[in-house]
Amino acid sequence: MKGRAPKPGKKAVKPEPKPRPDALVDPKTLQELIAVFQAAGVSDLEVERSGLRIRLRREGAGSASSPVEASGPASAAGQGAGQPKASAADEAAEGLVTMRSPIVGTFYRSASPYAESYVEEGAYVKKGQVLCIVEAMKLMNEIESEVDGRVVKILMENAKPVEYGEPLFLIEPGAQPEG
């Protein structure tokens, strides 16, 4: 699961490209390597170590386009109980706040099966307004909006289990109803 800690009231920013757990090589090392390579005026550099190989080739020498070529193991993925419902692109959407579940439980859009949903997509909400309920151990935990704004997307289906940090809503902060 992705699940960075919920950041209440903070603007969502483009996530920094964290190195994947199986990141091929420390970028700093690679930068240093390239700097040395470029300063040196050699045409070709290949470094291999414990299964990792890096080859540098100067543009103009041989096949021009890609000066850096790295090969290594790809990341594996297990099948989780809950899959992240929001794609990285969604989460990264500029200026949107992702509301995440602060607890483990079951997501409900309304107070009871017969009640109306707290919010619909497109609705304008106030900071502190209840957006949903996450039920845990028979306790109904009201989840409140961290910001004023417009609900761009509801990322969870009603009555589905949610894990800690699971994205629930995308909110455009500061948005005001017209007129």
Partner: protein, 450 residues
């Protein structure tokens, strides 16, 4: 049998429990903190979900999130592993109350044995050998001094709620008593929120011998023999073996009988360990009972052929013990070395990324671990990253096997205890089985340990 078990733990013990579930055909649910999302236990479980941030208080010790996770994944049982919530009587009680089976002893067992001074009193009541010391807790310095004068110095002051060496003070002579008493109480209060302490005779070079027991829900209780855990530093075990070089058949029968009686005295259920102190005259004394599976349980599995985690699960599911006492046969010799992510000389934790990881293999070698190449060892949790377990026909074969397995083992990217372990394996006293709980500190301060 259960349909689905939530494993309320991480690391190698979570992997161990998942393996047992798979072999029993029970589905497993891993829970994990945010930093553990790429862990091996998460990959191996049938399902997994995040229960909180890195801080264990907010994830692996977070009872509401863990039980809610069990509910939404429809688990009918929880295995706590060791550490975290394993000896939390409240957690066991809440599990019981909401109909999720806690795979372990009853909450009452945990509470009783968690109070060291109370446990001691029960043993005395049942005529079992305990260290000479105070009856129950001690309220004042005067009382402590009176007890110490009676049993003779050195004595040790221990926290009733204690464990892992905290809230303990050794007192060599009377004029140290006042300070030690206050210090132990203050430490106990700070660590456990309970300043109760008691006094016991202190032995300088005892062995730490523990007996594994199993008890089913009907109260049938068997012993699976002893483990010698004397190679430890500041109450942190480093090497364990079974059988103990200091225990012969007759002593083993005695230890087993007392351990079973101790368990029965509190109507103990599931797997547990009764810890004894063995003095130089081979007298033994009840110290405490650990109400959970132990880190070092695999060596008992190796010499008995009994899968302790599967037995735990079967017992919790209401099944009768698969083994009668007379069917438990100890065959061969087994040793465990704990590989910690630590500087081997200072025991300072050493987090980092595992760049290379070639576990040893071949005959008689078992590795219980949750690391693989690329694993990140974070500073949030226990530094134990792998248990290397060997089995041999004789102790000498097991020792030779452990040496070659340690030599084979490649873990790069972090510092580990492997070099220290390898040196201990070469020590003549260790090879001859001559060691006490004082061994490791002395070994490490010796000039040879360069």
């Amino acid at each position: 049998m259960f349909k689905k078990i939530l494993i309320a733990n991480r690391g190698e013990i979570a992997v161990r429990v998942i393996r047992a579930c798979k072999e029993l055909g029970v589905r497993s649910v891993a829970v994990h903190s945010e930093v553990d999302k790429d862990s091996v236990h998460v990959r191996l479980a049938d399902e997994h979900l995040c229960i909180g941030p890195a801080d264990p208080a907010l994830s692996y010790r977070n009872i509401p999130n863990i039980l809610s996770a069990a509910e939404i994944t429809a688990c009918d049982a929880v295995h706590p592993g060791y550490g975290f919530l394993a000896e939390n009587a409240h957690f066991a009680e809440v599990c019981e109350s909401i109909g999720i089976k806690f795979i372990g002893p009853t909450s009452e067992n945990i509470a009783t044995m968690g109070d060291k001074s109370k446990a001691r009193d029960i043993m005395i009541k049942h005529g079992l050998p305990v260290l000479p010391g105070s009856e129950g807790e001690i309220a004042s310095e005067q009382e402590a001094a009176a007890v110490a004068a009676k049993i003779g110095y050195p004595v040790i002051i221990k926290a009733s709620a204690g464990g892992g060496g905290r809230g303990m003070r050794v007192v060599n002579k009377e004029d140290e008593l006042s300070h030690a008493f206050q210090a132990a109480r203050a430490e106990a209060a700070a660590a456990f929120g309970d300043q109760g302490v008691y006094v016991e005779r202190y032995f300088l070079e005892p062995r730490h011998i523990e007996v594994q027991i199993l008890a089913d829900e009907k109260g049938r209780t068997i012993s699976l023999g002893e483990r010698d855990c004397s190679v430890q530093r500041r109450y942190q075990k480093l090497i364990e073996e079974t059988p103990s070089p200091a225990v012969d058949d007759r002593l083993r029968r005695e230890l087993s009988r007392v351990a079973v009686e101790a368990a029965q005295a509190v109507r103990y259920r599931n797997a547990g360990t009764v810890e004894f102190l063995l003095d130089k005259e081979r007298r033994f004394y009840f110290m405490e009972m650990n109400t959970r599976i132990q880190v070092e349980h695999p060596i008992t599995e190796e010499v008995t052929g009994i899968d302790l985690i599967k037995e735990q699960i079967k017992i919790a599911a209401g099944m009768a013990l698969s083994w009668k006492q007379q069917d438990v046969k100890i065959t061969g010799h087994s040793i465990e070395c704990r590989i910690n992510a630590e500087c081997p000389d200072t025991f300072t934790p050493c987090p980092g990324r595992i760049t290379k990881c070639h576990p040893p293999g071949g005959p008689g070698v078992r590795v219980d671990t949750a690391i693989e190449p690329g694993s990140e060892i974070t500073p949030y949790y226990d530094s134990l990253i792998a248990k290397l377990i060997v089995r041999g026909h004789t102790r000498d074969e097991a020792l030779a096997r452990m040496r070659r397995a340690l030599d084979e083992c490649v873990i790069e990217g972090i510092k580990t205890t492997i070099p220290l372990l390898r040196r201990v394996l070469d020590d003549p006293d260790f090879q001859k089985g001559r060691f006490s709980t004082a061994f490791l500190e002395r070994f490490m301060s010796a000039p040879s340990s360069s």
